[in-house]
Symmetry: D4
Subunit: 171 residues, 8 copies
């Protein structure tokens, strides 16, 4: 296998339920990836090591998911010049996700985190692929195909509604 282009990390194994969607869509789009657990608050040295070695190990993008007072994406962003995508996770200890969103999004000037929607791991994967696609034509084409498929899936439901009528229960 070629070197991973995208590193996916998350604060706890329980976030894997949400975060695996990022890995799945990256595979679908032809982007290599690695996935592991890095906790900002329980393994801070591992986090430093991960962030500081990421570029030299060949990673192009880091996707970091966390919930509650979610410090992992921002702290990793402070220790690498790679783009970091943050996924706010609506974990069990979160106040409806607001803490996750705000503690990832509201980074100070100088240290951006590319934040996606609450539990939006799939979109984090697509965004990472789009970043790879800025210089990799194959991935860019895969994204174009992916977008066509999105449209085609909608077109299929249009036909279903036309065929079945709106009274038909979608369940």
């Amino acid at each position: 296998m070629t070197n991973p282009q995208v590193g996916i990390i998350m604060g706890s194994k329980s976030d894997l339920r949400v975060m695996k969607a990022a890995a799945e869509v990256l595979e679908e789009l032809g982007v290599t990836l690695e996935l592991t657990i890095v906790s900002a608050h329980r393994t801070p040295h591992r986090m430093t090591e991960y962030a500081e070695s990421a570029r030299s190990r060949g990673l192009k993008v880091i996707i970091a998911g966390a919930g509650g007072a979610a410090h992992l994406p921002g702290m990793v962003a402070s220790m690498t010049s790679l783009p970091v995508i943050g996924v706010p996770v609506k974990s069990s200890n979160s106040i409806d996700g607001w803490d996750s969103v705000l503690s990832i999004l509201q980074m100070p000037g100088g240290v951006p985190v590319a934040t996606v929607a609450l539990d939006g791991a799939k979109n984090a994967g697509i965004l990472a692929a789009q970043i790879i696609g800025t210089f990799d034509e194959t991935v860019a084409k895969n994204i174009d195909v992916f977008k066509v498929q999105l449209r085609e899936k909608v077109e299929q439901t249009i036909q279903e509604v036309e065929r079945d009528g709106w009274r038909h229960d979608p369940a």
Copy 2:
């Protein structure tokens, strides 16, 4: 001048006050850019044209700023495979910025927008440079220098506080 690598767009000229920080930091980091006004709600066809031609015109990243019911970043993202960075602007018609943040951040699965902090145009510029820097070594080095300067500015204030003492009024 070489072709612009980053396109910066915003819904109204009044957003320029916030959004010019993106242009300034891109220049500082050695990334070429263009900047113009594109309104999702008042010039929808211009928006379509801008989004659909962006990749073929050579752009690598689009930065889109908007406030209130902020549809520009998400709509542009729906019509290009380039990474789109969204800047929620706390415009005069916004409810403390919550509408701007949520209508940019909470994109549905399939169409990500890389959202930065409220009025975080500077970070949008840095993030765009980081994306360029994944394949452009010169820009990557500029970002490394930029991060060192961030640290050095903090170190200078540390010395000021040590020299002047905490009783000294910072104003």
Copy 3:
């Protein structure tokens, strides 16, 4: 069947569960309608086509439902001079509905969306009928009858409570 007077659209088939209430009440009020899927982010060209042809196809009102970063109602409103009614849907990817509400309601000056309550598709249907009723006496009378029925249903529960007493379990 006569031409539809009201067009009901929604971003995904899963919104049909909520949005069909608009169609049901329009039928009850004697207003003709069509219903289909139009996604702002996955079928942007279809959206443009739908919005721009709506008036010439004879539609009088458009009802658009969407959740999360809900751009469909506002984008359609930007491309037609017909009144557009927006239904914020509390979809699974929404933060308690706040994103749906704010990204539909907070439209900039010049491009209104007539927003109804979260998941308020029934009220969207009634509002569309009220608009038709401004120039169609039959529909206006149907609305008057509908309002009488609302009152009579309440009066029936008043009698039930009087008959059964408040200790009676309403379940």
Copy 4:
């Protein structure tokens, strides 16, 4: 003067600062209007009278603005079959406008209020004109012209930015 087609009401004279924008845009769009003060909480009988006589007096649409616990739009809607547009006003006694928005928007099933953005009186006027325009070709054309002007104003700012460059201070 012909009979007014749109009635604009508000809870207190201090709301006139916000609400006059509705009257101005209606005039611009060639729609006749009346404007007065009706307070849900201080003149409840006047409110009932206004709402119940509105249709027979020839009004086609009512625009009602109120702030804080804003009951005027919803109560008027309960006593007429005309479409009622609600304008949440960010009055001095409001909690950042959230109370105004929620107490107008979240109407129960059966009694819709077409809610526009916080302080969105201009959009309320345009929406009222769009409703008139569903059966009045002249008004419909005025709205089309209005939308063209919106676009042209944006196009003018595009030229200004191109001419002056983004470094030019817009202030």
Copy 5:
């Protein structure tokens, strides 16, 4: 039976589930009451009649419960000089109760509603009894006894925890 001193009203029979707690505690405290359905939006004339006749019918306090855009308590308060207690109900169409709370609490100057906690019908009943108790010594004594019982119930749980230890599962 003596005349009711407290009138309990609510917008819909589905609120009875929450509101019956007010009736129960009033009975326990020796205060007479009546309970019925009055809808601000579906029976506005009944509401006016109820509010305006309340004092002359001998009522001393009105308790009004409603959810969503909850106009009943405030509108009743505008048409009577009796104290009105508002109970925000977390109904199914409410955004986590915020709309119910704000549209009852944030009344304009001149027309107070005594608001209690979300779904706080029991406290509404106690508050009504406290108001009766300002001039009725028997009721005042019943409240004193009630408060002693509150304390005694806590004291009993203290003994249970002491006896069973904190490891004991309270379920």
Copy 6:
């Protein structure tokens, strides 16, 4: 002077700016009052003494204003059987008033606080008078007169708007 019927307390002298409106309207309505400073957190014993002696000193109602983590109204309510009206104050250390509102409103079952709008001291005074008015005909009549005056003030602004037209600047 007769004994005070209403006791107005607040946590700090800086709240007097807001709270004096309660005293003013009580005077206007012919209700006797006392006003002083009682801090839940800085003079807890004074608070206990005030609350426990209130009924025996002849008070009928207590109005308590506080901001931030506002414990005064609820704690006083826990130590008296008199009705306690709470005024959430938007003090300088408050988060837009949300803390003041929620820490007064959301009392547990058994201990109600009659909460009024943020900074709603005037309404607290009126509510206290309404409570006195349940057994004092003179005060009840004063409230009726007060409500008539509210209506007449609105009627005067109606005439002003009719006379001056809506184009007239209200400032």
Copy 7:
């Protein structure tokens, strides 16, 4: 058994479900504790007695948990010079926990409460142990061991993910 160093109190026995985590972790860290029920609103005198005798009884830290309008932590803090840790409990009568958090956190100048996360009783226990650990070397060492164990548990999940791969369902 030696004297308890930490006193854990809560407003109602139903909070024990959340609060026992504080006791468990204190035991694990070798800190002695007591746990009982103290209600600010139903046993105010018991609260005063508890708070005022705490230091002389040998307690070093008080942990207080409460929900809704949560006054217990702040009131206890007003009557002792010991550090008081507040645990906002997401009780059944709470609005998503916001009331609990704000009424504990937002204490006025002079009377701090050390607030932990919503339902964060475990962290309250650890924080209390950290405070004991500032002067008790044994407890400090236990905390160091505890932190190592936190890290080791994460390291174990890292190995599990490496062994099983990210496709492995964590459930």
Copy 8:
């Protein structure tokens, strides 16, 4: 000077305006302190060094202030067994302080931060002194004196209000 017992750190010099209140009250309470700038995102290695050496350098408590996505308090807490007090700062880039509060408060199980009110640096200082006071009798006595002074300042304002009357303007 004796070794500092409390270390006060903050992310940027602009936070000194808020954070100096912690230093002032610590001096007043006889606790030694140091104060410097440590930025989580711009000097992450300095932060690690500061946190890991804090206990061995003799510090007993760390006070950390930060705004926006405020990671400093939580990250320091992850790397020391000392108690860490977090001060959410309402900085210019914060959304009304909500991001600051939530990203400090909502720490995951295992790593507590003792959070005080928004901009509550004074209370952070008092809390630190209370922690020192658990084993230092002199400091404990200073806190008792401080609390008496708090009460006496209130008592003085009580006399002022009694002397001047509530009509007297406090400004």
